[in-house]
Amino acid sequence: MNYTAIVDQPDESHHPTSFMAKYIWSQDHKVIAIQYSITALFVGLVALALSAMMRLQLGFPDSFSFIDPSSYLQFVTMHGMIMVIYLLTALLLGGFGNYLIPLMVGARDMVFPYLNMLSYWTYLLSVIVLLASFFVPGGPTGAGWTLYPPQTILPGTPGNDGGIILMLVSLAIFIVAFTMGGLNYVTTILQARARGMTLMRMPLTIWGIFTATILGLLAFPALLVSAIMMMLDKLVGTSFFMPAILSLGEPLNYTGGSPVLFQHLFWFFGHPEVYIVALPAFGMVSDVIATHARKNIFGYRMMVWAIVAIGGLSFVVWAHHMYVSGMNPYFGFFFATTTLIIAIPTALKVYNWSLTLWRGNIHMTVPMMFAIGFIFTFTHGGLTGLFLGNVVVDLPLSDTYFVVAHFHMVMGVSPIMVLFAAIYHWFPKVTGRFLHTGLGKFHFWMTFVGTYSIYLPMHYLGFLGVPRRYFAMGPTEFIPESAQSLNASITISALIVGVVQLIFLFNIIWSTFKGKKSGPNPWNATTLEWQTEYTPPRHGNWGGKIPVVYRWAYDYSVPGVKADFIPQNVSPQEVEMMDDKGGA
């Protein structure tokens, strides 16, 4: 192995010794990543519990006195907001982004470690403010995660006082946290790569995180802008989004504002947000598949271009969420076209993942199982997106359970499958131990089959015309009795899947202390993070020497080379010498 001398990036950081400096006020990207991940998983559990409550009401209406329409809407809203922003965005970028970027590009740390630390604590503050809304009078907001005005800030919607204010404040704080983290991620990727790490030698994980972070930096401002304006509408009576209206029969002092304007802003953020979650997942799953199939990712360049193309296009498709919002209907032509165009690079990614398996040598490890599960669920979710993107097909389906099922498949189940794949894949690097394989397989089967049995039937409730965000259907003629039994069975599946996640948590805790020791590079992977001197990597990542990169990230099963992988920091001269080192 070849390491360059220390001169390039002197290890200036002094190594903290006290417990507080090491684990609490840490500026080490790895500790911050773990802090981010634990916080995100914790709020994720809250959101999971909320979804269980929603499902109980939908599956067995009129059975639980602690769920009324107001609290149901609060569960819906908080579940959605937490899952999308405080879990997925934070875990994928704050957690995995933080952990992997410096290690995968060969840097000692993020370029602004202090800012990185601030980013986590600001994120934690946003989570605390968010959770505080459960304890204010009126409870958290129940306006739906889209927070559409006017109803969001008016009586008639639960949590229209303290709840919505805390929600908007929390979002603003989150955006500040994300911006601090995001500036770090892009700058580190652009400016702190190791020698020889050209852009096209970067693993797809980094490409996904990089593009997603840029999307986040450019898209979150739209959410910030709408949150500020809505806050002013609520608190000082401006009329940005509020037209002249009544509220429960009482006239209000607003005039002339435009609720649709909010929707444009929200979705100008909201659609890129889908890809902020999806692109890191695309990247990570590519690396997991390549590593465990012992084969280079098929069409690497196409994969990079597709990530960049999807990122660019994601800014011109937002109004496909608004086909029936009352905006100028002629916009429908434009946005349907851009939306269906974005399906092309996305489809190519799916093809390339499958083609990577073709003539591979597939190790069916737990991360690989989740990755394959992802291809299946993502194909399903992507294809149903073609229904909703095509403006005229959206007419009968929008605002029904079809939409709910679609975005849960594509934005819930799929990224979460990748998150699990990534956790099982990188856990040995983080802790030096494997997660328990038996529990992992059980977790996979229950999650994969369980989630499909939740969401496949849910699409059909949507075809039937069952609207979303309904507390109960009540007496409705066009909905047959059997739809209720279907709902009950969905609820049972959901509860089982929910409980299985506790087994996963147990696995994480147990394996951290008792798991099988893994060694530094258990999957025989090529990327830099597996080539650290110590596992888990120590502060400064590389000890005395920063690696030099000689090749791309996918030299698996190179013909004529004995080992079936060549790490990125192995120079051409060293490859021959590795003949006796042995393969997988």
Binding site: T4, D8, Q9, V111, F112, T179, G182, L183, N184, V186, T187, T188, L190, Q191, A192, R195, G196, T198, L199, M200, R201, L217, L218, P221, A222, L224, V225, I228, M229, L232, V236, G237, T238, S239, F240, N253, T255, G256, G257, S258, L261, L265, F268, N296, Y300, R301, V304, W305, V308, V548, Y550, R551, W552, Y554, D555, S571, P572
Partner: protein, 230 residues
């Protein structure tokens, strides 16, 4: 164009092809450790620009509603001849310029001039903020409060957010000086001051844009809005 062609060249590279030893060596020699501060600041400026761009788009869109009454453009408008705003523009420009010249004074023998220029810059910046506050007072005394019209709402909101960014910059500048007072090398101080100067120049340009937007005449709004198809 060069930038794009080099990006294009880089993105069409075939990274799996074996490279000759010379190419690899060349790469290693050409490698330059980057300048994270500048890159970070560029991205931050991009983020702030997006925020204000989106505010402006909503402003233009909102200006097309019947209840909108522009603050400038007509002799009876409150911001028809906004002398105070012009004065504030001057203060911010002076703050920006003194920072700019301060960067050139970073050396052991010019420390007094450096400190003088930095103090001036802080004072001018504070004068700008004070001046903006005075304009707020004037407007609200004339009855133009934040919720009386969307144009007013935007005026208060945009000036406040711009002012907050300036305060954030002042906070960063003071932090740089405090760290410097604990004996940090001059080249690091210079690098930090260059970033501050850039940021001030940007805030001044941003202010010019906001100023123009907030005091334009209704017909200008209509023209731009029509041109954007709003």
């Amino acid at each position: 164009m060069n930038f794009f062609s080099s990006i294009f060249r880089e993105l069409t590279e075939k990274p799996w092809l074996a490279q000759s030893a010379e190419t690899l060596d060349q790469e290693l020699i050409e490698y330059q450790p980057g300048s994270p501060g500048k890159t970070g600041l560029k991205f931050f400026i991009a983020v702030v620009s997006v925020i204000f761009f989106l505010f402006s788009v909503t402003y233009l869109s909102r200006s097309q509603y019947a209840d909108f009454q522009a603050l400038g453009g007509e002799p009876w408008s409150p911001l028809y001849q906004p002398l105070w705003l012009w004065a504030n523009t001057g203060w911010l420009l002076l703050a920006s310029l003194s920072l700019h010249f301060a960067v050139g004074q970073v050396s052991e023998d010019k420390l007094n001039r450096l400190l003088g220029l930095l103090t001036l810059s802080v004072i001018f910046s504070l004068l700008f903020i004070f001046g903006q506050w005075v304009v707020w007072q004037q407007l609200s005394q004339q009855g133009f409060v934040i919720n009386s019209n969307p144009a007013n709402s935007y005026f208060y909101m945009l000036t406040a957010i711009h002012g907050l960014h300036l305060l954030g910059g002042l906070f960063a500048l003071v932090r740089v000086l405090i760290i410097f007072s604990r004996k940090v090398k001059l080249d690091i101080l210079q690098r930090s001051l260059v970033l501050c100067a850039w940021y001030w120049h940007y805030l001044w340009l941003l202010w010019l844009f906001i100023f123009a937007l907030l005091t334009a005449s209704p017909s200008t709004y209509n023209t731009i809005a029509a041109w954007c198809g709003l």
